[in-house]
């Protein structure tokens, strides 16, 4: 390193210089930093560390820009990939606001008086999640959609004191896997049901549905509610918040717990995360809810303020009897989502939903007309649809990429020769027509 004099590396992230280290060690009556680490068994001290040497920002930035540029991103390609993660419009105000140091570099608001910004924003988020989903209580967010759904299933078991989780086969297979991972160790049983006419057995804790479902179609939640209620089970729904811009919210249709992947509203796709799990429920189940919850209260002078509340549900108080082990969650993404919902607002959320709807159905109408392609599922879909293709989706997708198109999700392991195609407000008519054009090369 050209950095220091001699072989001392002085990092720009740390203020202590050799001079100050000596000074502070002097206060401690020590000669060397090593004297601070004497509790470590000496045979294990100072192991070799095979990590590259320090690198300048200039060089590292160049390297990482090249690494990033080697990926195929939705800014440079027309993307029709969905399946739970979506390319949606994020207003330009979101990044400058969410990255303000005061939001970005604070932590869980344990000191409420020094964290009113984070707390009030969280209260806004909870309000908007409730309104969007038609629910009575929401928390400040979970890790992401799938684990959020898993926690909802666990919660349903706690509420009902039962151990059988019924889950529709129209729920994302990945989400089902995550529910399994969470439920199995606790001795809970997960049963998969056909969505057509789900029948729950005696003692069912809950029925779990996705809305719109994994394949993009609207589930009949009202009917599912009846099926659940018959057994005294809760209806647990994982909903796409963007669809809630136009479709009836699960709360109105009888859902007891609603979760969702909030990524679609305000969060970049970022190759899988960080995202933001939505979590809402009826008020009566509040004390079984996992996650952080912010409440409104007053201060010593009667002034309104916000604080973390119902903390006795949480691990830092209740430890092994907590409603979940979640601690650090995804607060910053909840904030991003709150800002986005605030900016889109009542009208914008509806517009986004309708744009998705019209564009997806336009795409469907074009593709449906190409020989060899069909839409095997009947029903009302929102922004995604299953398309049966004349060739293997993975082969088609490689060809599409050459035309600048990232194709749909290959689900041929579930339905032969099918892809799950997603169209959002980000896809222009031109892109949709280019997609149809490229697909028709495979027509027969």
């Amino acid at each position: 390193m050209q950095n220091g004099g001699g072989d001392h590396f002085q990092s720009h992230y740390m203020p202590n210089t050799p001079h100050e280290r000596a000074e502070m060690l002097g206060v401690l009556g020590l000669d060397s930093i090593d004297d601070l680490f004497t509790d470590i068994p000496s045979e294990h001290r100072n192991p070799p560390l095979n990590i590259p040497p320090p690198m300048s920002e200039l060089e590292l930035r160049a390297e990482l820009q090249a690494m990033a540029a080697s990926n195929y991103d939705a800014g440079s390609y027309a993307s029709f990939l969905g399946g739970g993660v979506y390319n949606h419009f994020i207003p330009s105000i979101v990044r400058p606001l969410m990255t303000r140091g005061e939001f970005l570099t604070s932590y869980t608001p344990y000191q409420a008086e020094a964290s009113q910004g984070t707390l009030q924003a969280a209260y806004e988020f909870q309000t908007m999640v409730c309104n969007l989903m038609g629910m009575e209580a929401a928390n400040d967010g979970m890790y992401e959609g799938a684990s959020s759904l898993a926690e909802a299933a666990l919660m349903a078991c706690r509420v009902t004191k039962r151990e059988d989780i019924y889950i529709l086969d129209t729920v994302s297979p990945t989400y089902r896997q995550v529910v399994e991972t969470y439920a199995r160790p606790q001795g809970l049983r997960v049963h998969v049901l056909e969505a057509g006419r789900p029948r729950l057995a005696e003692g069912a804790a809950c029925l779990v549905a996705q809305y719109p479902n994994y394949f993009g179609y609207i589930e009949d939640l009202a009917a599912h509610k009846v099926a659940a209620q018959e057994r005294g089970a809760l209806l647990v729904v994982s909903a796409d918040p963007v669809a809630m811009g136009m479709f009836r919210p699960p709360g109105e249709l009888g859902a007891d717990i609603v979760t969702g992947e909030g990524q679609a509203i305000g969060v970049p796709m970022s190759f899988g995360g960080p995202y933001i799990g939505l979590f809402a429920s009826r008020k009566e189940y509040l004390r079984q809810m996992p996650g952080r919850i912010v409440g409104r209260t007053v201060d010593a002078q009667g002034k309104t303020g916000y604080t973390l509340t119902l903390q006795t549900r949480e691990q830092h108080i209740r430890r092994e009897r907590a409603t979940s082990n979640i601690c650090t969650s995804q607060a910053l993404l909840a904030l991003a989502s709150a800002i986005t919902m605030a900016a889109l607002g009542k009208r914008g959320l509806r517009q986004v939903a309708e744009l998705c709807y019209h564009k997806a159905h336009y795409a469907a109408s074009l593709i449906g007309r190409i020989a060899g392609y069909s839409l095997p599922i009947k029903g009302v879909f929102f922004k995604e649809m299953v398309v049966q293709c004349p060739a293997s989706p993975s082969v088609i997708n490689r060809r599409l990429l050459e035309s600048g198109v990232i194709g749909g999700l290959d689900i041929s392991h579930i339905m032969p020769r099918c892809m799950l195609l997603c169209v959002t407000e980000m896809n222009s008519r031109q892109e949709i027509e280019a997609l149809a054009g490229a697909l028709s090369e495979f027509s027969r």
Partner: protein
């Protein structure tokens, strides 16, 4: 607070005015399609109608109500509130990273997979373990994964009866909570007078139903367990596996490798040690690292490197006996990108200095504060120090009061009442990114608070006095939960 400042406590729904818009969306450029049956559509959507300038001004003003690392010293123990380099965020927002979809085929995202693969390698190197999975989204989820791996390993060896998990009494709450979530019975192990694991108590619990033990190192008391090798030996001999909560790795980077000490599995808190901004409570990432014995059980997916010599390709694979998936995608990639940037920026030399300076700073605080604040151990600390306000409590100033009073002095408070085993605990973690000048100012404030406790305890009892709100009524918040704005006031 002026009327205008008060105004920014009005909520979005209260600011909402019919007809205002906060964003302009495109006019549909495709032929309009038939909408679904009315019965499927919602009648109304009770969301804010606020113009863009107001959204900006609202959230900007809110932000200023916060303390944060970018504005304040924030010695919140156990949370490693260190400086969060801006370049890390810049990298995470690169279009080629922020704009890729987790379900794109591997061949479309080789750059991202390479980054993940390198992060796996670095973490393995730093921990001295054999393999890692980046899937867990926070420390607590990493713990759950680790514990599930231990569970599955026991089960596969026909030892499913091992249902007891030991956890020291000083452990972070997530440890027992994670063990319980995995279906274990949690048994608490006391800490001895020197702050180490009580070996006698431990040996008593080394029974045939022992699954393992979760140990935070350094412990949440800020101490390095002097008997750690022996602890691991005892557990192993009883057929158990040892889990390391590596959330406090900031103390040990480059000083010692967990794998060398006898741990079988551990997680790291990338947001803490590897400096992702804490965002008001996330996002994080809690990768798990394991010894070979547990490698087949890693949570899915992991990245596999194939080929060599500049012709490497990278693929996501599912470990053979995986405990499964804990999230829909493959980890908080944005956090991983930040960790990668951080590791490369600091390099070998810088990482070692992190722990050196973190430990030095904490010991400096300990030395300067121990005359006025009770330090319950006769040792040096590691990267954080737990003090007790019990001397102050005698004068009527509890730990809570002292913490709130610190806010008036312009410092975020330490972690209060944790670990639970120290009365009136104040857990102080200065981190390596703070200067001696800042530490000295903090010492002055702590000393002033002690003086005040004698002279005018009501100052601390009524604190904070200078924050946007005074002390909040948390009891009321819990008794009458008001969790969202409602038109009729709820």
């Amino acid at each position: 607070m002026t009327a205008r400042q008060e105004d920014f406590r009005r909520l979005l729904m209260e600011r909402s005015v019919p007809g205002r818009v906060g964003a302009i969306l495109p006019t549909p450029d495709v032929p309009l399609q038939k909408l679904p049956d009315e019965s499927l559509l919602r009648k109304d959507l009770d969301m804010p109608e606020v113009p863009e300038p107001e959204v900006v001004r609202y959230f900007t003003n809110l932000s200023q109500l916060n303390f944060s690392i970018d504005t304040h010293f924030y010695p919140l123990g156990s949370c490693t509130m260190k400086y969060n380099p801006k370049v890390n965020d810049e990298v995470a927002f690169l279009p080629g990273f922020a704009g890729i979809h987790p379900l794109q085929p591997d061949y479309q995202v080789q750059g991202a997979l390479k980054l993940m693969s390198l992060v796996q390698d670095y973490l393995v190197e730093i921990t001295g373990m054999a393999a890692s999975s980046l899937a867990p989204l926070a420390g607590a989820q990493g713990e759950l994964c680790g514990i599930l791996m231990i569970q599955k390993r026991h089960q596969e060896r026909g030892e499913g009866h091992r249902l007891k998990m030991l956890v020291p009494d000083s452990a972070h709450g997530t440890n027992p909570a994670s063990a319980a979530m995995a279906g274990f019975r949690v048994v608490s192990i006391p800490t001895d007078g020197r702050g180490n694991c009580d070996l006698e108590a431990l040996k008593k619990e080394a029974t045939p139903d022992l699954a393992g033990m979760m140990i935070t190192l350094p412990s949440t008391l800020g101490l390095f367990d002097q008997g750690i090798v022996e602890v691991c030996r005892v557990i192993h001999e009883a057929g158990g596996l040892v889990y390391a909560d590596g959330a406090n790795m900031n103390a040990l980077l480059g000083q010692v490798k967990m794998g060398d000490l006898g741990f079988d599995v551990m997680h790291l808190n990338l947001h803490k040690t590897f400096s992702t901004p804490h965002g008001g409570g996330g996002p994080g990432a809690g990768p798990v690292c394991v010894q070979p014995v547990l490698q087949p059980y890693l949570p899915a997916p992991v990245v596999e490197r194939r080929g060599a010599d500049g012709r490497e390709t990278y693929t996501l694979v599912t470990p053979e006996k995986t405990i499964g998936k804990v999230a829909a995608s493959h980890g908080n990639f944005g956090v991983l990108a930040r960790a990668y940037t951080y590791i490369r920026t600091l390099g070998d030399a810088g990482l070692r200095q992190v722990s050196e300076n973190a430990v030095l700073n904490a010991n400096y605080l300990l030395e300067r504060l121990r005359k006025r604040y009770h330090f319950p151990f006769d040792r040096r600390c590691m990267h954080e120090v737990v003090l007790s306000a019990d001397w102050q409590k005698e004068k009527g100033v509890r730990g809570l009061d002292a913490a709130k009073r610190l806010l008036d002095y312009g410092f975020h408070a330490p972690t209060m009442y944790f670990p639970l085993t120290v009365a009136e605990a104040l857990l102080i973690e200065p981190t390596e990114t703070e200067s001696k000048e800042t530490l000295d100012l903090f010492v002055e404030a702590m000393n002033a608070i002690d003086r005040e406790a004698g002279e005018a305890p009501e100052l601390a009892q009524g604190a904070p006095h200078t924050t946007p709100v005074r002390r909040l009524d948390e009891a009321r918040a819990a008794r009458r939960p008001d969790l969202r704005w409602q038109r009729d006031g709820g």
